[in-house]
């Protein structure tokens, strides 16, 4: 218990999960980030990627989100978090196709491009 902290994912319409855990890896805006107990208070963004809970090997796919870590509470606010076990091949293909379509549009900003390429890469790397 001593080296655990509370981890919570909240989406606008419900709380997706809440549990105590020892280590979580999040796809932060400037790179993947492992979070352990007593991390410095932190606020950052997520880019598309996988949230991995080390203890239980549970994984979530997120497209965007905000992370706050304070007082040993890791809070993730995201409207797109999905448990990976809930994603099947069909929905994955649809997500990739959508992102690739967006990529081809002309008035897209560099920042968006960067995020989209991440999204496509993470999705493609899923072994389903």
């Amino acid at each position: 218990m001593s080296d655990k902290f509370t981890f919570e994912i909240i989406s606008p319409d419900k709380s997706i999960m809440k549990k105590d855990t020892t280590e979580v890896i999040i796809p932060a805006y400037e790179g993947e980030m492992g979070i352990l107990k007593d991390h410095i208070p932190l606020i950052t963004f997520l880019r598309p990627g996988k949230i991995k809970i080390k203890d239980t090997n549970e994984e979530f796919f997120v497209e965007e989100g905000i992370v706050e870590f304070a007082n040993n509470n890791l809070l993730i606010l995201s409207s797109t978090a999905k448990n990976i076990s809930e994603i099947n091949k069909g929905s994955k293909e649809a997500l990739i196709a959508n992102a690739e379509k967006r990529m081809r549009e002309s008035e897209i900003t560099d920042k968006e491009k960067y995020l989209l390429s991440y999204k496509i890469n993470t999705l493609k790397n899923f072994s389903l």
């Binding site: 989406s11 606008p12 319409d13 419900k14 950052t44 963004f45 905000i66 706050e68 007082n71 606010l77």
Partner: protein, 292 residues
Amino acid sequence: MPSLDDLKKRIKSVKSTQKITKAMKMVAAAKLRKAQENAEKGRPYSKKMQNIILNLTRSISDPKNAPKLLVGTGNDKTYLCVVLTADRGLCGGFNTNICKLAKTNFKKILNEQKNLKIITVGSKGFDQIKREYGKFVIKKYSFKEKKQITFEEADTVGNEIIRLFNKNEFDKCILFFNNFKNVITQIPQAQQIIPADNKSSETTEENSLLYEFEPDEDEILEDLLPKNISTQVFKAFLENAASEQGSRMTAMDNATRNAGDLVDKLTINYNRSRQASITKELIEIISGAESL
């Protein structure tokens, strides 16, 4: 004095109305449970979001260059009012209460010689507002065909607000909706979302921590504030949905009870006049027999 037949018809029609209101009440009660649950589930998100923004605001380095969504345009000329109502009627004073509050505010804004722009969400609100303030309505939304309102709908409205803001179409934005307190009480509310109104919550949480930001505060704020608008709109949607069902439930409960009272009264009337006519016939027969 209505005839017996009329009374009978009347009783029948009131009874069938009562059946309808009773059914509506039960449907509303079932929906209320769900809506209430959703509203409660949605609260942490918006609350935490506000908290993060509050923390960010505190540690912002240069308040003068802060994003306009947070501090406002500096002007106070054009108001955008977003009125959230239901798409359906028969829910007591629900829609009227919101519109009443909104209209008082409209009047105040116009009296102060300021510009007014209105967005209505939900058809009932538009119907009530269009008569007096129709020319100020710049956009109306209706999600009638949606069974349940999700974040996406809130996002459409939120994005529209932000788009207008970025085009400098307004300086202040106020949301009107019903706050769900409990089944009997729903409080119509006006909430200012642009610029963000942080004063009320500032006193509640004093212990500010030193956060590490990645990327820096300004960049986070710039991304977070538009999201916060959608979140606030979504929260208002959820509160509204729960309030609507609660309000409908109470209204229909009252209607059912009133119909019951009416049926009782009509039945007594019916029995009395039936008896009166029987007595009258008896007298006629007796007096007829006597005269023979």
